[in-house]
């Protein structure tokens, strides 16, 4: 525990070494997410509807997804930069330290400033919830928290898959970027505005929609067309299960690395 706090503090201090860049990065992150929000507001203002969804409802999806992505980036950034760890040969250093590899990797690049962008998502969530007049019971709050947590797991699992790929080929990560960053863009909005193949991809292959959109659509009071209470139970499980699956890929990668050392 002490190690975790210490490592995070150290990243901050390292970033603070370059003061101008530190400030600019912090501001830039807020502005970027803020811009996404503004773009959404403009869209809503102009068109009022997105498929069967009211603008305010869309904003609720947007908020939930932003929170999930900000949290994932905070802990998973070390995974997205993993190819450079491999290329520079720094993976050996991780293997030489008596701590779990994924923990070290996550802490190496964990940047708590990213949590700042959670605020933007939370703002969107609260505003839309008020305007929709949603009634929150502890159970519903728990479901929201679980679905966000599940989404974090799913996104982190995709990051992990991307990192695992680096063991096999340093260049081929673009394919998975399509799922991670593409997923982030696509899943900001309710999934059923998209063509079926895209929906299927993010429901059953990379189950962001399953983790987030099904429960959120139910919370907002407009369940997805093929919604069933059974899915509500599946949602909190899908994320961690997907993550567990991807750790297998990661392990295979580590095994290969230790087999070939390159």
């Amino acid at each position: 525990m002490r190690y975790i706090f210490h490592a995070v503090r150290m990243n901050l201090r390292a970033a603070a070494q370059y003061r101008a860049s530190f400030l600019m990065q912090s501001v830039a992150q807020l502005v970027m997410t803020g811009c996404d929000l503004i773009a959404l507001l403009v869209l809503i203002d102009r068109f009022r509807h997105m498929g069967r969804w009211e603008g305010t409802e869309v904003m609720f999806f947007f908020g939930a997804m932003q929170i999930a992505f900000a949290l994932t980036e905070c802990f998973g950034r070390g995974l997205t930069t993993f190819s450079s760890v491999i290329r520079k040969g720094n993976f050996d250093t991780l293997l030489l330290r008596p701590r779990p590899l994924l923990l070290q990797l996550s802490l190496n690049a964990c940047d708590p400033r990213r949590v700042g962008t959670v605020a933007v998502g939370a703002a969107a969530l609260i505003v839309s919830s008020l305007r929709l007049g949603l009634v929150w019971t502890p159970g519903r709050l728990l479901l929201l928290a679980l679905s966000i947590a599940g989404t974090v797991c799913t996104m982190a699992a995709l990051f992990l898959l991307e990192a695992a790929f680096c063991f096999f080929s340093v260049q081929s990560v673009e394919l998975i970027n399509m799922l991670t960053y593409g997923g982030r863009q696509v899943c900001q909005y309710p999934a059923d505005i998209y063509p079926a193949p895209l929906q299927l991809l993010f429901t059953w292959v990379a189950p962001i929609v399953l983790c987030l959109h099904y429960p959120v659509s139910w919370l907002v009071g407009k369940p997805m067309a093929d919604f069933s209470p059974f899915l509500l139970w599946l949602c909190p499980v899908a994320g961690p299960a997907f993550f567990a699956l991807m750790t297998l890929a990661w392990r295979a990668g580590v095994r290969r690395y230790r087999g070939t050392g390159s």
Partner: protein, 327 residues
């Protein structure tokens, strides 16, 4: 097999990589062949706790592979190795907890923060007790002259300072075994001596076992009584450094300057002669031909103005040894 005694052992340790050649076609995926690269073959040895052993061999001989196997970075393809009863690649965390490593070209500290902060994080990574860590850090900064540098970030340090900083970081948790890969490469004389002093002291007072990879013969002579020589992935020699030096007899060079042109008669077997910057160089192996005879040869050749006996060139000797051993 239970090996409880503190020692590092390898039995028939082997590592074979399979490397795929780039094939034909646009993607280079057709006609690819798998080539077996035998990086390490059938290496067996036993190193007791508290020994300092030098690991030498030309580039590509398998030194890094051996170190990576022993530190648990790589898994062997054949044979086994244990360090104090632990299997490096299986018991990774328990094993590396007792390990210190300094790999010359690669830093293990954090680049952008004062090295003091790196050491503090290492304290938490190795879960060291605060008071113990503090005392140890004091000891090491004194021994390595790091006091003034603790607040500088690593990137601002010179190579010599950085090496000392790395060594300090690798010793903080009082490892039982220390792996050093080219620790003195590129260092000035003072830094080299300091580093060697600290290593010797560490070994003497704490019984730290040290496996040292180096091309620097002075490091060897200063630190190791035992060396292992690797060539083409095989262990070619494992024994005393002095015996090794004696076995590969030292070549002596006699540098002579004459007034006028000397006249050497026919040279006896084992003496070679060449000219260099106005001087005559006679090289010979003392074991093969008595020094007296060589001197007589020189005195008979002409009027001698000056003469120096050059120390053996250890690096050349090693090169000769590699050439002879691994052909």
């Amino acid at each position: 097999m239970t090996q409880t005694a503190a020692a590092m052992t390898a039995e028939h340790l082997s590592k074979t990589y399979i490397r795929r050649t780039r094939g034909r076609g646009i993607l280079g995926l057709t006609g690819r062949e798998a080539v077996q690269v035998k990086a390490l073959q059938d290496v067996s040895f036993r190193m007791e706790a508290g020994e300092i052993v030098g690991l030498i061999g030309p580039n590509g001989a398998g030194k890094s592979t051996m170190v990576k196997l022993l530190t648990g970075i790589l898994t062997p393809t054949g044979g086994s190795c244990t360090v104090d009863g632990l299997i490096p690649w299986k018991d990774r965390r328990a094993h590396v907890r007792r390990l210190g490593t300094v790999f010359g070209q690669r830093t293990q500290l954090w680049w952008d923060v004062p090295i003091r902060d790196s050491y503090a994080l290492l304290r938490d990574i190795y879960a060291l007790r605060e008071d113990r860590w503090r005392r140890r850090l004091g000891e090491l900064t004194d021994a390595l002259d790091l006091g003034e540098l603790l607040d500088a970030p690593l990137r601002q340090l010179s190579l010599g300072q950085r090496m000392r900083a790395e060594l300090c970081g690798s010793l903080l948790h009082e490892p039982a075994w220390l792996f050093l890969d080219e620790p003195t490469i590129g260092l000035d004389a003072v830094s080299k001596l300091k580093l060697r002093d600290v290593l010797r002291e560490e070994n003497r007072t704490r019984g730290t076992g040290i496996l040292l990879t180096t091309h620097d013969m002075d490091d060897m002579l200063a630190l190791c009584r035992r060396v292992m020589v690797l060539g083409h992935g095989r262990l070619l020699y494992d024994g005393g450094l002095q015996e090794l030096l004696q076995r590969y007899d030292r070549e002596h060079t006699l540098r002579c300057v004459f007034s006028g042109t000397p006249r050497f008669g026919s040279l006896p077997q084992g003496v070679a002669l060449r000219q260099e910057e106005g001087a005559w160089l006679l090289t010979f192996l003392p074991g093969q031909i008595p020094v007296r005879e060589v001197l007589q040869l020189v005195l008979a050749a002409g009027e001698l103005r000056e003469m120096t006996l050059r120390e053996m060139n250890v690096d050349r000797m090693i090169a000769g040894m590699y050439a002879e051993m691994s052909l």
